[in-house]
Symmetry: C2
Subunit: 325 residues, 2 copies
C-alpha cells in the first residue's frame, strides 16, 4: 500500500483546483477538506472522490466562484442559498454561521439550499466540536434506496451527524441511513467478500449478503429497516422545509445529485460546564465490559495520528488519476 | 376483543389517580395522556402500562405533587428540574415551554432532568405538531441493550421523536433504538411467533429470531446494529449534558428507571409557509410505487378514528386490574 504525506496530497489537490480556476483561498480550503477526509481514514470521500468532484466542475454542475447568500434571518435561525457552489465550502461556511449564532444566542440553526455534495458530513461535526459547540447536521441526497415496503429507490441516504466536544477526543457520529452505503458494497465486492449481515435484496426479492446483487437491484436495506426508512424521510422533510430547498424527490427526478438541502444546528458548550464529566461517565460505562467497544468517532484520532506519521494510504489508480488532472 | 369507549377508560384512570391523591387538574391531564395513548393504538404505553405507573406512585418513585422548576434560562434554551413528578405531565409541560420559546424566537430548546417515564414519546411530538411546531424530543432510559461489540446491557432504548405538522395528518416518527422493544418481544412470545427478522442474540451468542431467547440474554439488537448503538450513545450524551441530569449509566446503576433526562426542541412552522407543499411532494414521491408504504405516523389517525368510533380495544386482564385499583 502506497502512503503519501499530508502536504504532498494537499498540494496536488490544490494544484488541480487552481488549474480549474479556483480562487486561491477557495482552492486551499477545498483541498484541505478533501485531504483531511483522507487523513481521517474516510478515503471514499477524500482522494477517491476527488475525480468525481472535478468532473462535476467540468460538467458545470458546480459553480466554483459562487458564494452562499443570505435568504432569510429569523434571529437564531438563518436560511442560506448555496448558489451551487462547492458543497464542501458551503458546508464549512454554514457550520461556521451556526457556530457564530450559538456563541451569540446559545443555539443556532442554519439551513442551506441549492448546495452540492459535502463529501464527509462528519468533517463539519468535527468543525463544530473544535469550536466547542455541539453540532447536529444532516443533508438530503439523491434517492438511493426504497422506503420500507417498497422496491423502488425513492428515499435518500441522508447522513445525520451529531458531534459532542470532548477533551479526550470529540465524540462524532456520522451515519447514513442505509445499513451499507454503495461505497461499502463496492468495497466488499472488490474484495470478493460477502457482507457480514444482510444488506439488501436480490433479484428474487430475498434478503442477501451479496453486495453485487444489492447494487444490481438498487435495494439496499435501510439501517434498522423501517426505522432507518422513517428517519430518512424525516431528515428529508426537515432539510427541505427548513431550507426551502429541493427534496430527495426533486433531486432524484433531476437525475443528478445537486441542488441538495442541508441543516446545521449548534449549541454552545460553554453553557454546560459539567459536560466533560457527564461524557466521561457515559463512555466509561459503555465501554467497560469489552475491549472492542468504541464510541462514535473514537477511531478517527487514531487513524489521523497514524496517517500523519506514516503518510496517508492512497489507492494508486486514484493517485495517478489525480496527478494527471 | 373487548372495546371500551374513550370516556369510560378516561374516567376510570382519572378515578384511580384521584384515589391516589392527585390534584384534580393533574389527574385529568394524566388520565388524558394515558387514554390518548391507547386511543392512538399505543396500548403498551396506555392502559397496559398504567398499573406499573400506579406501582411507581405507591413505591414513592413518583412525586404526584411535584411541579417542574426552572434551573437555568439562556434565552432560547431552558433547563428544568422535573423533581420526580409524573413523567407524562413533566413532558407535556416541557414541550409546551419549547413551543412557547419557538413562537417567540423561532426556535426553542428545553432540557429536563430528574423526570420519570414519559410513556409514549410520540404524544409530545403530536403536541408540538398540533401547535404548528416542528418537534424533536428524546429521552435516555435505563440500560436495556449492549452497545455494538459488547454483551452487557449498558445503553438505553432512548426513543427519538421527530414531528412535522401537516394538514393531512401530522408526520410523526417515534423510534426507539432497539430493533424490537421488550414489549414487542413479549408480544411475539405470547403469540408463540418468531420475529420477522433477527432481533438479538441467543445464549450461544448467535443471532436469533426467538423473542424468548433475546429476553433471556438481554441482548436485543440495536436498530441498524452499530448505527442504532451509536445513536443511542449520542442521545444519552445530549440528554444528560443539556439537562445536567442523570446518564443511562447512573440510572442503570440505581436499578430503577427514574431521574431520567430529556430534551424538547421546537421550531415555529409559521416561518416556513411552503412547508405543506414540500411535505406533500416528499410523501407522494415516497409512497407512489407500492400501496403498503406508509409515512411515519400515518397509521395513527386511522387507528384513532376507528377507536373513537368502535371503542378502544383493551386487554381484559389489564382492564380488570385497573378497575380494582
Amino acid at each position: 500500500m502506497q502512503r503519501i504525506n499530508y502536504q504532498t496530497l494537499f498540494v496536488e489537490l490544490e494544484r488541480v483546483l487552481l488549474n480549474r480556476g479556483f480562487a486561491k483561498d477557495k482552492a486551499k480550503a477545498c483541498a484541505e477538506i478533501f485531504t483531511n477526509n483522507s487523513r481521517d481514514g474516510v478515503y471514499s470521500h477524500g482522494l477517491n472522490r476527488f475525480p468525481v468532484f472535478v468532473n462535476y466542475i467540468d460538467d458545470g454542475f458546480i459553480n466554483i466562484d459562487a458564494q452562499p447568500t443570505l435568504v432569510n434571518s429569523f434571529g437564531v435561525i438563518e436560511q442560506w442559498d448555496g448558489n451551487l457552489g462547492p458543497g464542501v465550502l458551503n458546508a464549512q461556511f454554514c457550520m461556521q454561521r451556526a457556530i457564530e449564532l450559538a456563541k451569540k444566542n446559545g443555539m443556532g440553526c442554519v439551513a442551506l439550499k441549492n448546495t452540492n455534495h459535502w463529501m464527509r458530513g462528519g468533517a463539519y461535526g468535527w468543525q463544530a466540536a473544535e469550536a466547542n459547540c455541539i453540532g447536529i447536521n444532516f443533508t438530503n441526497t439523491i434517492g438511493i434506496m426504497p422506503p420500507w415496503g417498497s422496491d423502488v429507490a425513492t428515499i435518500g441516504n441522508n447522513p445525520l451527524i451529531i458531534a459532542v466536544p470532548h477533551k479526550n477526543g470529540h465524540i462524532v457520529l456520522d451515519m447514513a441511513m442505509a445499513q451499507f452505503s454503495y461505497g461499502k458494497l463496492q468495497e466488499y465486492e472488490l474484495k470478493g467478500n460477502e457482507l457480514p449481515f444482510y444488506g439488501g435484496y436480490d433479484t428474487e426479492g430475498n434478503l442477501t449478503k451479496n453486495p453485487k446483487s444489492i447494487r444490481e437491484t438498487k435495494r439496499p436495506l435501510p439501517a434498522g429497516m423501517w426505522k432507518g426508512s422513517g428517519l430518512a424521510i424525516m431528515l428529508d422533510l426537515l432539510a427541505s422545509i427548513l431550507s426551502g430547498g429541493k427534496t430527495t424527490a426533486a433531486i432524484t427526478e433531476s437525475g443528478k445529485e445537486k441542488n441538495i438541502s442541508q441543516v446545521y444546528i449548534c449549541l454552545d458548550m460553554n453553557l454546560y460546564p459539567n459536560a466533560g464529566n457527564i461524557a466521561d461517565e457515559i463512555l466509561t460505562y459503555t465501554k467497560q465490559h469489552k475491549q472492542g467497544v468504541r464510541y462514535p468517532g473514537e477511531q478517527t484520532l487514531k487513524v489521523r495520528e497514524e496517517n500523519m506519521l506514516q503518510g496517508i494510504p492512497v489507492d494508486e489508480t486514484m493517485w495517478r488519476k489525480v496527478k494527471s488532472l
